[in-house]
Structure formats: structure tokens, C-alpha cells
């Protein structure tokens, strides 16, 4: 058995957190490296999970509760792995930690943000609103601590430093490079939403009322830019007639050739957000095939029972915007009717797929053409889990994480 009983987990989303907790509770030391200023990844940005439609913080909080008291989990936010050397049982990993400019004395009182004169686009809400340059990533962030986006600051401004009575602001912080010795590595790097700008037939991301499904999550979320009201971006009008375009970039060799597997469920879930919010709302889901496997079929049946949620087979292949009203008109062939049809909606949601974060930047893992990590066996001691490996839902990611944690531990025992 290797002397080094440490595991590096790259990515602090639901998969990485799950691996870290499972391994640490067995007694292994885990370095959990996360690029963002908070843990939780894409799941933290959801409004609700399917199929039970509970807020994601139900699941995330339990895990944070397990991380907090555990001395074996070393959480490194705002950090990225820059180099990996060595082999199973004996890896040397270089991690670069970017400055947060706020130290652990922060109480999240918010005085720094009040004093801050600069603003930045809020990435957590996919740019739909703005925060101060000194900001809390989101209301339930872990760690619960402010961050300063120095790229948004005016030079020489020290308003936040003056406002903080705890001495938590450190504007002269520098990036820190750390070397870690670990026995095995797990990539849990997850995904990013496919860029709407590439979807030429679907408006190229240039129409205000054509949004992506991840943006819809934020619109429906109490912590989102509209406080949970589903209002369309162009004029803040209540979006009551909403279209959903499935396979927006997925199952398309010109974009993502894989099926992202969760978008059908996501759109059905978002149709429920809409139906629950406005009694007189209508949703129409334009699909190629509805993929709601296993017990998820019940979720689909529930939506089909609602006469105000309409399912139409036919991919939307043309989108236009009425410049005076901001309404969106889609064009499709209704396959079952065999006729071309146009439909006008208040807002259009593109069910953009999951593009693996590792695509193009695989690091030490080997990836397929699609950007998903290939079978673990190719690189001994290096594993991958969750969406880094294949496009899956939260439930499958958590199950997979437990199995991957076991593999990472076994690798250490064997080497």
C-alpha cells in the first residue's frame, strides 16, 4: 500500500463533493480543488432538481455539513490544477490558487459590497444581472465568504478595505502555487452549457427573448435576477407562452454529437415552473425524441396530462424576432401532421446540451472526440466521474461518485 493516502479531486460540483466526502469518511485525505469561489458547481445554479422538484440545496447542504467538520477534506476554491507528474500512489500535483482578496475573517456582513463603486456581470446568473466588484457568489455560497473581482475595480480604489471593520479585505494578495502529493486523482470537472452563439439556426444568442435552459433555471430561482419571477429579458414582461427547443446543439454532428440526456427532463421541469407560476400559461416543447427513461417516464406522463403543456415532434430550425414586440416566432415541421408550422411565443428556451469542461483541455485524463473522459484503465491512478465521463443527471452522478471514490482508494491500496 502506498504511503500517500491522499486523493486529489478536480472539480467541486456535486460529483467532486460526493467523491471527496465518501473517500474522506473512509479515512483518506482529500484535496478538493474548485475553480469557482464556491462549491456546488452547476447544481448550485439550479432552481429545482427533477424528479422530486426539491431545491438543490437540500442535497448540497447535507454534503457541506459533512465537509465542514471533516479535517481530512482540504477545500481549495479559486484554484486550478496546472501540472500533474508521477504515477499511481505517487503523484505530484501543482495547484494554482487565485487571490480572493478576502481572508477568513469575513463575516459576510456585506459592508464591502455596499461601499464598492464598481460593477461586474454576474456569472452565477449567466450574465442576466450585475453585482458589485466585491460580491458574495450567491446567497447560499460555501464557503460563505465575499470575493473581489479585481478586473472590475478602478485602479487605486480601496473603498472596500476601508468599509471592512474585520480587516478581511487584503487587496495585495497574490496567486499562490501549492504542490500536493497524492496517491490517486479523480476528475470531476463536469460541464458547461453549449454556447448559444454557435446555433446559427436558433438565433445565434442574439435575440433577447431566446434564452438557454440554464438561464431559465436562474429566472425561476428565488436567488436569480428576477427573484424567481419568470419575466422575459427584453421588457420584463411575464413570459406566459414559452417554447422549448430540444436538442439545441445536442445530437448534432455540427455541434455536440452526443445526447446530453438531461435536457428533455429539464424542459419538462421548466414547463412545470411556468405552469406553477402562471395559471394561464402555455408551454410547447419541440422535440426529436423524448428521452425520459425509467421512472422518469412518470414525470413525462404528468406533463402530458396537462393540456397546457404541448409536445410537438419536429425540430425548430428557424427563429425570428419581432422587433416591435420582442416576441419570438419559431418554424418547424410538425412531423406527425406532416406540415410546416410557425409558432409565436413570449420567450423561447433553448435546451442547450452539456459540453464537457475537459473538451480541449483534458489535463492528465484522456478524452474522446466529444471531450468526455475515456475508460479509466488508460491512465492508471487517474479516474473520472459524473459528467466529465458521460452526460448524466444528478442522481446518476452521485451514484457514480461513490463508485469512483472506491476506485481511487483501491488504486492507492494496490500501488
Amino acid at each position: 500500500m502506498a504511503e500517500n493516502k491522499s486523493i486529489l479531486v478536480v472539480g467541486g460540483g456535486i460529483s467532486g463533493i460526493s467523491v471527496a466526502v465518501e473517500a474522506a469518511e473512509v479515512g483518506y485525505k482529500v484535496h478538493l480543488v474548485e475553480r469557482n469561489a464556491y462549491l456546488g458547481g452547476r447544481v448550485a445554479q439550479l432552481n429545482k432538481y427533477f424528479p422530486k422538484l426539491c431545491p438543490p440545496y437540500c442535497g448540497l447542504e447535507i454534503n457541506f455539513r459533512r465537509i465542514r467538520p471533516n479535517p481530512d477534506i482540504d477545500v481549495l476554491t479559486m484554484s486550478e490544477v496546472v501540472n500533474i507528474q508521477g504515477g499511481p500512489g505517487n503523484f505530484t500535483v501543482t495547484v494554482k490558487t487565485n487571490p480572493r482578496y478576502i481572508n477568513s475573517a469575513c463575516t459576510s456582513c456585506g459592508k464591502c459590497a455596499e461601499a464598492c463603486p464598481a460593477e461586474r456581470a454576474n456569472g452565477f446568473n449567466y450574465g442576466m444581472d450585475r453585482t458589485k466588484a466585491a460580491y458574495l457568489p450567491h446567497t447560499l455560497a460555501f464557503p460563505m465568504r465575499y470575493v473581489i473581482d479585481r478586473s472590475a475595480c478602478a485602479s487605486g480604489c480601496k473603498a472596500c478595505e476601508a468599509a471592512c471593520k474585520y480587516g478581511a479585505v487584503e487587496l495585495d494578495q497574490q496567486p499562490v502555487t501549492t504542490e500536493l502529493k497524492v496517491g490517486s486523482i479523480v476528475y470531476a470537472t463536469g460541464w458547461k452549457p453549449y454556447d448559444m452563439g454557435n446555433l446559427k439556426l436558433l438565433g445565434e444568442g442574439k435575440m433577447k427573448n431566446v434564452i438557454s435552459n440554464v438561464m431559465m433555471e436562474r429566472l425561476a430561482s428565488p436567488g436569480g435576477p428576477t427573484g424567481g419571477k419568470i419575466l422575459r429579458p427584453s421588457d420584463g414582461k411575464e413570459a406566459k407562452v414559452v417554447g422549448f427547443v430540444q436538442c439545441a446543439g445536442s445530437r448534432d454532428e455540427n455541434h455536440l454529437s452526443h445526447c446530453s440526456s438531461i435536457c428533455c427532463m429539464a424542459s419538462i421541469k421548466q414547463a412545470f415552473y411556468l405552469r406553477d407560476q402562471y395559471a394561464d400559461s402555455k408551454a410547447e416543447i419541440f422535440y426529436i425524441d423524448l428521452r425520459t427513461p425509467g421512472r422518469y417516464e412518470k414525470f413525462l406522463n404528468r406533463a402530458q396530462a396537462d393540456e397546457n403543456i404541448k409536445f410537438t415532434k419536429g425540430k425548430v430550425a428557424a427563429v425570428s424576432e419581432d422587433p416591435s414586440t420582442g416576441d419570438i416566432t419559431v418554424e418547424l415541421e410538425d412531423v406527425f401532421a406532416g406540415t410546416k408550422r410557425k409558432a409565436t411565443v413570449d420567450m423561447l428556451v433553448l435546451a442547450t446540451g452539456m459540453e464537457p469542461e475537459m473538451k480541449g483541455t483534458a489535463g492528465a485524463a484522456s478524452v474522446s472526440q466529444d471531450g468526455f473522459a475515456l475508460a479509466d484503465i488508460q491512465k492508471p491512478g487517474i479516474y473520472s466521474t459524473g459528467v466529465a465521463k458521460s452526460p448524466v443527471d444528478v442522481m446518476t452522478s452521485i451514484q457514480d461518485a461513490a463508485g469512483t471514490a472506491l476506485k481511487a482508494m483501491q488504486s492507492i491500496v494496490r500501488s
Binding site: L201, R251, D252, G314, K315, A317, E331, L332, G338
Partner: protein, 383 residues
Amino acid sequence: MNGTIIEPDLGFIKDLTASGAESLKKCYQCATCSVVCRIAPEGSPFPRKEMVWAQWGLKDKLAADPDVWLCHNCGDCTTNCPRGAKPGDVLGALRKATIEKYAMIRPLAALGGNFAAQFIVGAIVITGLLLAIGHTNVLANYHSVDKNGHLRIIFNNFIPTHDIDKLFAPLFLLGVVTAIYGIRRFWNDICDAAGLGKYTGRNALPSIAPTIGQVLKHNVFASCGENSDRKTPHLLTFFAFIALFITTNWAVFYLYVLGWKPGDYSSLSNPLKWLGNAGAIMLIAGSYLLIKNRKAKSEKQTSSNFDWSLLYLVFFIGVTGTAAEAFRIVGAYAPAQAVYVMHLIFIAQLFIFAPYSKLAHMFYRTTAMVFAKHTGRELKAAA
């Protein structure tokens, strides 16, 4: 569900995949193609339905489908297809299958995309002509010196024009008869499939003139996206054919109405020659550009032998015709005669295979367009 039983024709599917539609089975019926197609009508758009019919091997349904011909192979469907199923190529293969189905002389139809075999047939016919005339040595000097001592090449001395006409006039008529035979069967089937029953073509006569106007202007091509670069070369080739058809009939007029002798109108000062030469240049330029554009797109779109044989044939006809004239003018009788024989072989090939090669699109597409106009199936924007 009305309980229709689908009887797939597996041989048909195999034939299709062998003639440029190998991507057919990739289609998953998303219907992107029907939406991005700028010439598909709203009511019953194509090519999504043709893709599933082809996957199911519904040969008769597809043969009686005018939409297969309303498609002008713009290529927008193929470019935007998320699966690389290349609907544009599949419809091309379906058109080939339709031409074969309505062919009068089946063995010739089987050679519709086989350039070498077509050439051999043409060569046999022209060899027969030479043997009948008794001129077995193509390179011998059949010409006389004029009073200034210059050798004046007159092709009529080598192969008499009247003998050529005796061969080509019947070949042309055979082509016309064959085309009418195919058009009639096609027309009856599309009317039948559209539920129009025993429907005579007479009612559709008013739709013919506007359709021809549309063809002359090529305005369907103008609405194409991806392959919009095909419009000008196709227009050139199309008008080259018209110019050369007029030229031929003009010569017939000189010979058989005015009683001129062959060669009397071969001087470049005769306007007939201007039109003929202009036609030749357009033919060469048009077919060259069509070949070049297809080659440039070979990665994204498949071009089958059915496409290539017609394009090269047209190009070779232009080149050999022009070269024979050039050799004649400079007085090089041996190359002039050799190239002239080649030219006649290519023309024979064109005439014999016109109803079976891709050239038959001329009849079937026009018929389908007349039908669409008559039944109001066409897209208003393209009218």
C-alpha cells in the same frame, strides 16, 4: 393508426445506398431539412418525408412523389442536417431511381450513370456509320485544294451531313418518344398518388407556359442557399443547349429548305456560326464550372457517377466540337477528323441516353413543376 402495412423493398434500399444515398440510414426524422429548405411548400414539405419513405423502401410512393423533383439540390438540408444524413444526396439518388423506373428501354436505363458503357454504345453507332459510308480510315485526306492552293476542310467530304442526319434524326425522335412515354407514366402516377384519379394532362395545360418561364429565369435556383453558386453555370449550360438546338435547326433550314450545300454556312461570317460558337463557349464554361463546384464540395456533398457522367459528357461535347472547328480552320485534317468523330460519338451518347441519364431531369422536373403549379403545391415565394 389506420393499420397500413408497410412492405419495404429491401433491394430498392440497397440500390439507393449504392447510388449516393449511403447516408440514408443516419436520418432520425428531426425535420430540420424540411424547415431549412427554401423551396419546400408549407403544406407537405420535403425532404423529411422522403427520407423516411426511402428508409422504409417505399419505391412506388417515392416514384410518384413530385417533391423529389421539386428539389433543386440546393444543399441547405445537407449542410444543416445534424446527422450527416445528406438529404440532398438521397433525393438525387431517388431521382435516378425514378428515371430508371419510368424508362422505356430498361437495359439502356441501367447504364444511366455508366459513362464508359454509354461511350461504347455511342462508339458502336458511329463506327457503324463510318462503315456504312465506307470511310474506314479516319486520318485519310478526304479534302481538295482550292484554286489558291489552300486545303479546304469540309467535314461533309469525310462524313456526309445528310448521312449524319439520317442517323441522328431518328435517334432524336426516339429520345422524344421515350421522353413522352416516361412523362406520361410519371404524370399518371403522381396524379394517382395525389388522389386525382384518372386525370388528363389537358387540364394542366395553362400551367405549362408559366412553368417554362420559371425554368428560363432559373428563379428557383435563386432561392437556394448552399449551392446558389450553381445558378449561373447551370443557366449557362441550359442556354448553351438552347443556342445549339437553334443552331442545329438553322442548319437544317439552310440544307433542307433553302437547299444550301453542307459547308456553305461554315464561314465565320455567317451569323449561324456566331450563335453556334457562343453556345459552345457557354457549354464549356457552364459544365466546367459545374464540375469545379461539385469537386470543391465533395467533402460535404456526394456526387455520384450519375452526376459526373452527364457533366463530363457535356464538357467533352463542348471541347471536341470547338476543337474540331479549330483544327478545321487551321487545316489540320487528321486531328480535325479524329476529334470530329469523337464529337459525333459524344453526341450520339447524349441522344441515346438523354431519357436515361441525368439529362432526363429536364422532362421529369418540368413535369413535376407543372403539376405543382397546377395543384397549387408550389411555394409562393418561388413562383
